[in-house]
Amino acid sequence: MLEVQAVSKTFHPGTPNEVRSLRGVDLQLAAGSWVIIIGTNGSGKSTLLNAVAGTFFVDEGNIRLAGRDVTRWPEHARASLIGRVFQNPFSGSSPSLTIQENISLSARRGLRRGLGWGLNESLLERMRDEVSRLNMGLEDRLENAIGSLSGGQRQALTLLMATWLRPELLLLDEHTAALDPKSADLVIALTEHVIARDKLTTLMVTHSMHQAANLGDRLIMMHRGQIIHDFHGAEKRRLRPDDLLARFEELRRAEQLDESAAEMLAERYI
């Protein structure tokens, strides 16, 4: 479904701010799989998702999605295949437009937009139906500006919008990190529901070890722009939050060791 082949991305190359955010990442996703991504801050998780979504072009490597080579497709063209939810709950909707206008925009993701009426009765009916199932009381407020809603409400709607038309690939980037625990649980429940219902192929970054252990059927761990662990099948199912924390601790120690070794070498030879 998704094939990321030897993808590298360096920001600000050749300047003091140079960051090698992705260093030869390979990743193959089978159709219908739900892959969780964890990793330390700045390890390149968001960059990987952005590379897939086409926020920027990669320096090296190829990206194939649903049988097509999308490496040189601009972001808006890839959107016909991809549904996205961002970490910032305000990034996924247009604040001054109403709830129904926002949803109707997502109902034409990747389709031509002409002078046709954005809202029709059958669309509105499905909106009322799906929005009422969020149990947030928003079905009576479809004509309110979406900017007047809370972060949790907006994130739930963004998820609804991202999957309104079934995407070939769903990208979730720490989409509950900015929410209060109750909203986060709601959004996670909704996430599980839509992924199961539409059998979506999903790439989900999370900061929560609990989510990482309990969700998805595969888990990858990133560090310094590379994938350092990849747990499948039974191995993934056995993982507990503590195991994951232990992996982070291991990384931290290895880093400290690297640093002290470097210091020692520097002292001796410089």
């Binding site: 808006h76 247009s94 001054s96 206008e101 034409r108 002078l115 009426w117 954005g118």
Partner: protein
């Protein structure tokens, strides 16, 4: 009375400018200075065609299209060549000065004895009035000519405003509004936001140019300097309109722009009546917009401070 009707008429004509400025500044949050040039472009294209004997309708449509082209240029400079928004507008506006001179062939084109939208609506009005040249409105003597021009312009504004309201609720129009609001989101929904900006600025400047085309016909000439400061003028109208309607619902904001334009024109007429020198008009307009931008911030700070105290 004639003066009052004239004030309203110009207010309505300039409300098309206000709608254009509303689109660029408010819908797209794009500080587009092109309007200073495109209002003159609309005027000079229309005046030149009228002087050649073409129909006023053709002149208005041509003015509108010329303005669209100018707006599209600004949009392309910004989106394709990544030039700063303000600078893109300044570049096109500056280029338009020469282009306007070329279009007119001189710095001023008078429209004295040609058929214009104004003479046509006067003609229709006089016909409907069965030969009367004035009528009595609540004790005021109103000239049929003045009234028919006002009504014609009002109809044009209502038509354009409704069209805009309709457009911004179509799939394409909604995508445009969302582009100004949250471009990251609209790209993720498969919209080429760069194209939206180009097209949106084209519509904005088309309206501004149409306003110029009508203004030239109303005042009876097109002049290469007539656009100076018009962006600020339009912005003042938009700001007044926002204060008047007090909501950012689409329909109300469009009506607000029209009301703001007329009210601002009235204020200016009163100020001139009271002895404000026309030379100071731009200074006062700029000062007004400055205050309108600063006062809300100032009030907010004050409120915060008193909340802390």
């Amino acid at each position: 009375m004639s003066l009052l009707i004239g004030t309203f008429t110009i207010g309505f004509i300039l409300s098309l400018l206000a709608m254009g400025v509303f689109i660029s500044f408010r819908v797209f949050a794009f500080p587009d200075i092109t309007a200073d040039g495109s209002i003159t472009l609309g005027a000079s294209v229309a005046a030149t065609l009228l002087a050649r004997g073409l129909s006023p309708w053709v002149a208005c449509v041509a003015g509108f299209l010329a303005g669209m082209l100018a707006g599209a240029c600004t949009g392309l400079l910004h989106t394709r060549f990544k030039i700063n928004a303000l600078l893109s507008g300044i570049l096109v506006m500056t280029a338009l000065y020469s282009i306007n001179l070329h279009v007119m062939g001189k710095s001023n084109v008078p429209l004295l004895s040609v058929t214009t939208v104004v003479t046509q609506s006067e003609h229709v009005g006089l016909k409907l009035a069965h030969g009367a040249t004035s009528f009595n409105l609540a004790g005021w003597e109103v000239s049929v000519r003045d009234a028919s021009v006002l009504i014609a312009i009002l109809l044009a504004v209502v038509f354009t405003g409704s069209l805009l309201y309709w457009f911004f609720r179509t799939n394409l129009g909604m995508a445009m509004r969302a582009t100004g609001d949250n471009s990251q989101m609209i790209r993720a929904l498969g919209v080429n936001d760069a194209n939206m900006i180009v097209f949106g600025l084209a519509i904005s400047n088309g309206l501004v140019a149409l306003s110029g085309a009508l203004l030239a016909q109303y005042q009876g000439f097109a002049d290469v300097g007539m656009g100076i400061g018009m962006v600020v003028w339009g912005l003042a109208s938009v700001i007044i309109g926002e204060a008047l309607v007090g909501t950012n619902q689409l329909g109300f904001t469009i009506i607000g722009a029209v009301m703001g334009s007329v009210l601002f024109r009235l204020l200016v007429a009163v100020a001139l009546r009271w002895g404000l020198s026309p030379n100071d008009l731009k200074l006062i307009t700029a000062a007004f917009v400055f205050c309108a931008l600063i006062v809300p911030q100032f009030l907010r700070k004050k409120r915060l401070r008193s909340a802390h105290a």
